[in-house]
């Protein structure tokens, strides 16, 4: 038992958790490794608060970054983030493991973002039309050589370009990067067809690449 505990990986960042007994800590570690997101959510639905803690620990950073990159404001992102997790908490009894937890939770995030955009009168997300010309003008997979060397500059350019992206394209890119979702999952989370999701992602990637390829 102790050997197994020593082999188990340590979480990347430990949340402030109350001191636990060794058996309980071992159970938590096993659950952290073995249990899927869906299982954890179902356990939380049955009243296991530790399952939710693990779930939260797994997804808090990607979800927060997703929201922050989308709205561009930390205070708003925090509000949306908190509201998103409260929706997860309140949906514990209705959750069914039909789809991946990430698809479900990012769908909630997407809907929350839609509400936010509508409330702020930002209709660009819904009416944006992708420009084929931008896609065609951008050379594929060609990044400036100096940017490969200077990662810090590359990151800054990429983040700046990300802000400039249309909301739908940025969302598709963020869902892919933060949520590690496939085209189908992105389509399911955002409520569009796979082709639309694929198109948005392609435009986003092409524009970001183009921004990195430009000499500042």
């Amino acid at each position: 038992m102790s050997d197994l505990a020593s082999v188990l990986p340590v979480p990347p960042r430990a949340l402030p958790v109350q001191r636990r007994r060794p058996a309980e800590a071992l159970h938590l570690r096993r659950m952290r490794i073995e249990a899927s997101d869906e299982e954890l959510m179902l356990r939380y639905g049955r009243g296991d608060a530790r399952a939710f803690e693990l779930l939260y620990r797994r997804h808090r950073l990607p979800l927060y970054r997703f929201l922050l990159r989308q709205v561009g404001n930390a205070a708003t992102a925090e509000e949306l983030f908190q509201d998103l997790w409260m929706r997860v908490v309140n949906s514990r009894g209705r959750y069914e493991a039909r789809a991946k937890f990430t698809s479900w939770v990012y769908a909630i995030a997407h809907n929350r973002l839609m509400d936010f955009y509508r409330g702020n009168g930002q209709a660009s997300f819904l009416s944006h039309e992708e420009s084929e010309s931008v896609l065609e003008d951008t050379p594929a997979a060609e990044l400036a050589a100096d940017l490969r060397l200077d990662r810090k500059r590359a990151v800054e350019r990429l983040l700046a370009a990300l802000v400039e992206l249309p909301d739908a394209q940025r969302e598709a890119f963020l869902l892919q990067q933060e949520g590690e979702m496939s085209i189908e999952q992105i389509a399911a989370a955002t409520g569009v067809g796979p082709e639309t999701a694929k198109s948005r992602l392609r435009y986003a990637v092409a524009k970001l690449r183009a921004s990195l390829g430009k000499e500042s």
Binding site: L15, P16, Y44, G45, R46, G47, D48, A49, F52, E53, Y56, R60, L61, Y64, R65, L68, A74, E78, F81, Q82, W85, M86, V89, N90, R92, G93, A140, A141, E142, L143, L147, R148, R151, K152, A154, V155, L158, L159, L162, Q176, Q177, S182, I183, V205, L208, R209, L212
Partner: protein, 281 residues
Amino acid sequence: MIERGDEELSHIYRDAEGPRPPQRVDDNILAASQRVASTVRRPAGFGFSRRWGTPVALAATVLVTFTLALMVFERESGLDTMARKAPRTAQPAKVAPPEPKRTESSPPGPPRAASPEKSPSVDLPRAAPPAAPSPQAATRSDRVQQHTVETALSGERRATGQPARLPAIPPGVEILRKSEEAKPLPDAQRGFDAQQPIRPAQAPAAAPAPGANTLRESASAPQGAVSGLASRVTASEAKEREKWLEDIRRLKSEGKATEAERELAEFKKRYPDYRLPEDLR
């Protein structure tokens, strides 16, 4: 799906220093989740009741239905009435002893404490010489009531055919009784009216020992009513005994030796532990 160039893009994106949610947001969310989970948590017996609730309810329903059906069936077939009649007829013979016969002089409603069923401790299997009655008890001689008590006691004895069961007498009480036996009778008790006729046959076959009664009543102090009654019984018993002895003396003096012997024998039989006076020994 992700091309090689896109992978490079991903690497660059992930090199970006990831913003983190503030600590207070983490705390708020986790606290809310735990608060909700604690309300969701069910009591320990919930699973058991959910699992066994339905079968137990069904079994209870079947049992009640069967019992009701059986009762209705019994009532209709008459088994129930027969079963009820049987104990009803047997009940009086089993529970209630025969009511003691009241003499003509006994009042219609004797005191409740004098009932033999209610005060079994009044009777004793062996007679003992009477203890010296207290002056108060001697002066308060309610003859009618005493006679009723006597009759009731003897009646109980006749009904049961054996001495009434009594709780064990404490050793201290036994010592007291023996010391009382050794005491001579007081003079005041000996001198009584000799005009009363001798009625040994009317005396109860085995009257309770008055001295023992007194001691017994003193041992069971809370029964105040029974104690007073017993003292009265003792006084009347002593008087009756003295009358009897006086009659025997008179028979002797009149020359009726046979009758006197017979009466004396009867007296000894009646009071075997009584110490006879010198002139009658």
